[in-house]
Amino acid sequence: MRWRNPVFFGLLFTLTLIAAASEGPGISVRDAWVRETPPGMTMMAGYMALRNNTSRPQVLVAAGSSGFETVMIHRTIVKDGMAGMAHASQIELIPNASLIFAPGGYHLMLTNPKRTLRAGDRVDINLEFRGGLVLPVAFEVRK
């Protein structure tokens, strides 16, 4: 492939744009970010907008990352006037609809980061769906 090939550059450019988003067959993720935490903290939260572009439900069953010891799907809930976290073993995305992971609601609970993550860093988290699809998503660390 010649270096000056416009197709080569076009492809490179497009791949760069997809950095903080990801697309699998019918499932797209936008605005994936991890909140920067104070130094030495072992728990971080990941947020994103998940969209099921297919006409069938898609079920998120797990998440994993080489950047963290464990990744769990959690939801902040209020019980007896207290906020706490509920573990969600799976989440169903209804057809042609979005599910937002945002502060105060659904989030990925990221335990024991393997390296210190600062705003501007990127970390990859794999989203696993029922049926075998694994979607690698690049999360951006933000303050």
Partner: protein
């Protein structure tokens, strides 16, 4: 019949409006989704906690300043960092106002003293704002202040489990410079709205 009901409603409305005007401008701060003001602020009684610089944090530390208090724990990935980040921005807004922020303090109360030592608290609160205070104590000491504020918490500590669940009220509590429990802010929190409500209240209360 309808005319009578309508007339009664109008008269009632007029009466309420008139009594609001008479009852001073606290009516400007009617309860809403953001802040709930207590008509008769309750004086807090003695309690003793320790701050992130290992100084005693007792009732005397709540006098002379407005205090915004929030219960949480540093292993909290979502609610606590989110709330403290909003409170830091709220402080920025308040600091820019004519009243400034010298008479306001923000206090993060950890209900998880098992993991939240003074040095861990210092690292934590410093990150959000260098003026923020981190305090904790033993369960009895925390419970004392929590009960007075109507805050609930539950630490499901299990030996051997590294990340045990912790539940805590996610409200922000407002104590006035006379050490009285004055108002609460309820989530979801917005920095600008909190600071605006607070500034109006501070002005009404004469600082």
């Amino acid at each position: 019949m309808m005319a009578t009901v309508a007339l009664a409603a109008m008269l009632a409305g007029a009466w309420l409006a008139a009594s609001d005007r008479e009852n001073d401008s606290r009516a400007r701060l009617l309860p809403d989704r953001v802040m709930t003001l207590f008509p008769d602020p309750k004086p807090l009684t003695a309690f003793a906690l320790t701050d992130h610089q290992n100084r005693v944090f007792d009732l005397s530390r709540l006098k002379g300043k407005w205090s915004l208090l929030f219960f949480g724990f540093t292993h909290c990935p979502d609610i606590c960092p989110t709330t403290l980040a909003v409170l830091a921005r709220a402080r920025d807004h308040i600091a820019k106002s004519t009243g400034g922020a010298e008479d306001v303090q923000f206090v993060f109360i950890s209900v998880d003293p098992n993991r939240d030592t003074a040095s861990r608290l210092r690292q934590y609160v410093d990150y959000f704002d260098t003026t923020f205070l981190g305090v904790t104590g033993n369960d009895a000491q925390i419970g004392n202040l929590a009960r007075q504020l109507g805050a609930a918490y539950q630490v499901a500590f299990t030996p051997g489990i590294e990340n045990y669940p912790v539940y805590h009220t996610a409200t922000v509590f407002l104590v006035d410079p006379r050490g009285r429990y004055h108002a609460i802010f309820t989530p979801p929190f917005d920095a600008e709205t909190i600071s605006r409500r607070f500034k109006v209240l501070r002005e009404l209360e004469g600082g």
